[in-house]
C-alpha cells in the first residue's frame, strides 16, 4: 500500500486541508468500526504510540493509538494555523509539522515566492522529508493552495519546485483555487499568472477550482433544498472550531470532497483498482496540458443527505453537464483530450459500460455511488484567456515595481499554453475526427 503527503500552503490551502482531514477521519470512522489501524488508514495517517519510546510508529494491523496526518502545514500568518491547532483537529497535527511566520505576504506573489521561499525553503523541505521518512512507499504529494493571494500562490509554487527537485519520482497533484473575476485582492491577476507558469512547468496534474463556480453551485443547492439545510450529516462537517458555519466552509467542503474521491480508490478496495499514478498517465497526453477540470456528482447531497439519491444514469449525465463543473466552463462544447470517471459505492462494471456507450467512448477508471469526473478538456482555455485579459489590463497600469523580466516570462508561458490548447481546438474543427492517419504499408 502506498502513502501520500498533503502539503497545504496559505490561508485557503490550510482551510481546505483542514476540511479534508476532518472528512477523511469521518469516512474512516464510518468504515473502520473496530478501531484497527489498517492499510486504508495508513495511506494518509500515521499511527503513533506515545507511550513507547520516542515517536515510534506502529505497524499495520495494530490498534489505533493516536493518528497523525501525513501533512505539512505552511502559512506566513499565524491565524488560520493557530485556529487549527486549537480546534478539534489539534491531535492530528504535531507542532513539528507546522511552519508559520507572523507578517504574511501582503498578497504579493514575489514576497511569498522569493523572500519567504528563500528564507523557509530548506525548513519546509526538511519537514516534508521527515514526513516522507515515515512512509513505506511514498507515491504522491497533494499540494493545496490558492492562486490569488501571496503566500499560497507565491510560496506554494516555490514549494512545488522544491518538491520536484528533492523528490523527482513522486507524483505531484496540485489543487489550485482560482480567484473569481471580482476578487477583493487587486493583485490577484498578477499572482495567478505568475503562479500559473510554475504550475505549468513543475506539476504533474493540476485540478483547477474556480471560486465563482463554487459560489454558483452553493446558490443552486440553496435553491434546491430551501431553508432546511442540514450541515451535521456525515459528509458535510461543521466549522473548524465546531462553531457556527463560516462562509467559506461549505465551499471548502466541496474541494475537500473532491480530494477524498480522488484518493478513495487508493485507500479502499474495488473491482477495478486505480493507482494514483494512473491519473497523470491516462489524462495527460501532452506534458504541459495537465489541467484537469473536476466535476462532482451528486453535489446536492453534499449539503443535505436527505434529498433522495439521484438515478444512477442521471449521475453520469450530470458529471458532464456545465452545472457540475468546478470551473465555469462547458466541457461539452469543447474538445475532450481525455477523461476519467471515478465511481464509489455500489456500482457494477456493467453500469459503467452502459454509460460509456451512452456517452460515447469516454474512458473511466474505477467503480460506484458518487462519481468524480476529471476531464482534460480544452475548455479550460476560456478561463485562462479571461485571466490573461485581467492581467494585461492591470499590467498596462504598472502599479508596483518588480522585475519586469519575470512578468513577461510568466505572461509568455500562459500565452503559449493557451496557444497549445488553441492548436488542438483547430485540429478538431478543421479535420473531421473520423479521419485516420495514413497507416504504414507492408509490401506484399
Amino acid at each position: 500500500m502506498t502513502q501520500s503527503i498533503v502539503v497545504q500552503v496559505g490561508q485557503c490551502g490550510n482551510q481546505v486541508g483542514c476540511r479534508f482531514w476532518d472528512l477523511a477521519l469521518r469516512e474512516h470512522a464510518h468504515v473502520n468500526k473496530e478501531g484497527v489501524y489498517d492499510e486504508a488508514l495508513g495511506s494518509f495517517f500515521r499511527n503513533v504510540d506515545s507511550r513507547s519510546s520516542g515517536a515510534g510508529t506502529c505497524d499495520i494491523g495494530g490498534r489505533i493509538h493516536r493518528l497523525k496526518a501525513r501533512a505539512v502545514l505552511v502559512d506566513m500568518e499565524e491565524g488560520v494555523v493557530n485556529q487549527i491547532v486549537q480546534g478539534p483537529l489539534r491531535d492530528v497535527f504535531d507542532t513539528t509539522q507546522l511552519l508559520t511566520d507572523v507578517s504574511g505576504s501582503g498578497n504579493n506573489w514575489a514576497v511569498g515566492h522569493m523572500t519567504y521561499g528563500s528564507a523557509y525553503g530548506e525548513q519546509i523541505v526538511e519537514k516534508v522529508r521527515r514526513a516522507a521518512e515515515h512512509c513505506d512507499c511514498l507515491q504522491c504529494f497533494f499540494l493545496i493552495h490558492s492562486m490569488g493571494g501571496g503566500t499560497g500562490s507565491g510560496l506554494g509554487t516555490r514549494v512545488l519546485g522544491l518538491l520536484k527537485d528533492e523528490f523527482p519520482g513522486v507524483c505531484r497533484i496540485v489543487t489550485s483555487v482560482y480567484p473569481s473575476e471580482e476578487d477583493d485582492v487587486v493583485t490577484s491577476p498578477y499572482n495567478s499568472v505568475l503562479a500559473m507558469r510554475e504550475l505549468t512547468e513543475h506539476a504533474d496534474c493540476v485540478l483547477p477550482v474556480e471560486n465563482q463556480s463554487l459560489v454558483d453551485i452553493l446558490t443552486k443547492i440553496r435553491l434546491m433544498s430551501g431553508p432546511r439545510i442540514k450541515t451535521d450529516s456525515s459528509l458535510a462537517s461543521g466549522g473548524p472550531g465546531g462553531r457556527t458555519e463560516k462562509p467559506f466552509d461549505s465551499m471548502n467542503n466541496i474541494i475537500a470532497n473532491l480530494l477524498l474521491n480522488i484518493t478513495s480508490s487508493a485507500r479502499f478496495e474495488g473491482c477495478l483498482n486505480m493507482d494514483l499514478n494512473e491519473i497523470s498517465m491516462n489524462l495527460v497526453p501532452f506534458p504541459r496540458l495537465h489541467y484537469l477540470v473536476p466535476s462532482l456528482t451528486p453535489l446536492y447531497s453534499l449539503a443535505d443527505c436527505h434529498i433522495p439519491p439521484r438515478r444512477l444514469d442521471q449521475m453520469f449525465s450530470d458529471a458532464f453537464s456545465k452545472d457540475h463543473q468546478l470551473m465555469r466552463t462547458d466541457p461539452r462544447r469543447s474538445l475532450y483530450l481525455a477523461c476519467a470517471l471515478m465511481g464509489r459505492g455500489n456500482l457494477q462494471l456493467s453500469d459503467l459500460r452502459r454509460n460509456i456507450h451512452r456517452l460515447c467512448s469516454v474512458p473511466p477508471v474505477g467503480h460506484a455511488h458518487s462519481l468524480l469526473a476529471l476531464s482534460n478538456n480544452t475548455c479550460v482555455k476560456g478561463s485562462f484567456v479571461a485571466l490573461r485579459g485581467r492581467y494585461t489590463r492591470l499590467y498596462r497600469k504598472k502599479e508596483d515595481g518588480m522585475e519586469v523580466g519575470l512578468f513577461s516570462q510568466a505572461a509568455e508561458s500562459l500565452s503559449s499554453l493557451i496557444e497549445e490548447y488553441d492548436g488542438l481546438d483547430r485540429t478538431s474543427s478543421s479535420s473531421s475526427p473520423s479521419l485516420d492517419a495514413p497507416r504504414l504499408k507492408m509490401a506484399a
Binding site: M1, T2, D136, C137, Q139, E269, C271, L272, N273, D275, N277, E278, S280, M281, N282, L283, V284, P285, F286, P287, L337, A338, Q348, L349, S350, D351, L352, R353, I356, H357, S361, V362, P363, P364, V365, T427, D436, A437, R439, L440, K441, M442, A444
Partner: protein, 445 residues
Amino acid sequence: MSIVTVQLGQCGNQVGQELFDVICEDGQKEVYQGGSGTERFFHHNTTGELTARAVLIDMEPKVINHSMSKAAKSGKWRYGETSHFSQKQGSGNNWANGYCVHGPRHREAMEDVVRREVERCDRLAGVVTMMSVAGGTGSGVGTYVTQCLREAYPHSFILNHLTWPYSTGEVIVQNYNSVLTLSHLYGLSDAVLVHENDAVHAVCARLLNIKHISFGDVNGVIAHQLAGILQPALTPDSYGVYSRNPLGELVSSLVCHPEYKLLSVCSIPQVASSSMAYSVFSWPGLLKHLRQMLISNARMEEGIDWQVRAPPVQCGGAESARSFRATGFNRSLANLLILRGKEVFSAEADGLQEAALYTSWLPSREAFSVWKSPVSFNKYERSATLVSNSQTLLEPLDNMVRKAWNMFASRAYIHQYTKFGISEEDFLDSFTSLEQVISSYTQLG
C-alpha cells in the same frame, strides 16, 4: 508432465485463480486415467494439500492477497506460501514503466520464484503466462518476464494467454500498451492465445443471461474455455493414452509458421445453469453450429450468420482476400477441435476438415486436428472447444493498431514512455512488426 503457470498483473492473477478453480473442480469428480489433470497443474505440499503449480507476480499486493486467500478459502486447493512476488507501487498503466523499470529491477527475484516452481516438476511440459495487454504490470512486466523465461528455458514451450481490453473505455493508453506487448511477444512466444473482453462480455450477457456482469463473471468464462483446452485429452498420436505434452501438441498442431501465432478460442455450449435442465445437446448439432461460427466469424452460438459459405477451393491468394471482405468468410490456417463428454468417439467432425476452409498451401488433413476425452467437462454432458489460428483476430487487431497509430500521429502520451526509456523508434518498430502480422493474416489465401 507438468505445466507452470505465471500469473501477472491484476487481470492475470484474477483469471489464473478462476482457472485453477475450474481445473480442480473438474479433476476431482473423475480421474483421467494415466494423465491426471491434477498432476499437471497441482502438486501436494508437505502437509498433503493440493497446491497450484503457479507463480503470482504483481507490482502491488492487493490482488495477489485477494487471489491467495480466495484459493485458500475454497478448501480444495491453495497457492504455494512462497510462490508469489509483489511490490508496493503499481506500474501505473505504463508499459514502459513495467518493461524498463520494474522488470529489470526485480529480475532476479522473479526468476527465482519461477525456478523454484519449475524445479518441483518431474518433467516440465512448458510455461503458460497469463496477463492483460492494457495495463502496465501485466503487459510490461509480463513481456519482460516472458523474455527472461525464453532465455532461461530456451527449449520449453511458452504459451502466452492474453486478455485484450474492451475496445472502448478501460484505459486511454491501452492501445499503446497492447501494441508494445504484442509486437514484443510475437518474437518470444510459441503461441499467443487471446481472449477479448468484448466477446466474453457478450457471452455473459446473451448466453449466460447475467444481468449485472462483474469481472468475476468474465473471468469465469475465460477460465472455462481455457480449462477446456488444457485438461487432459486423447490425441490422434497418443494411442488411447491421455496426452502428456499438451502445450507441445497444441503448438505443433496450430502454429505451423512463425508469422502466424495468434490463436482464438470459442466454446459450445455455454448456457446459464438455470436453463441447463431444458437443454439437450447432440454432437451433430453442436458441430454444425461450431463450423458455422468458425466460418462466419461468430464468437458465440447466438446471432450466427448462416448465409456465409466457404468459397470454392481454387480461389487465388489476392482474390480470396477480396472475397473475405465481400462474404464475411473467415479463413483458417489451422484448427484444433477438443471434444469432451458422452459418446465422444461417435462424433463426426468432417465438416471442419473441408479443404475450402483452409489455405491452399497447407493440406486440411494437417491443418485440422481433433482431441477427444470421454470425461464430460465442467457441468456439460457434451462440450466442444475450438482453438483456431484464423482471421478472427484480424479485425480487433487492426482496430487496436489503427487507434494507437492515430494517437501516435499526434505524439500524444509519448512523453510518458520516453520518460522510462521507450523511444519513438521503438514505437515505430512495434507498429511495423504488427502491420506485418496484419498484412500476413489479411493475405491468408
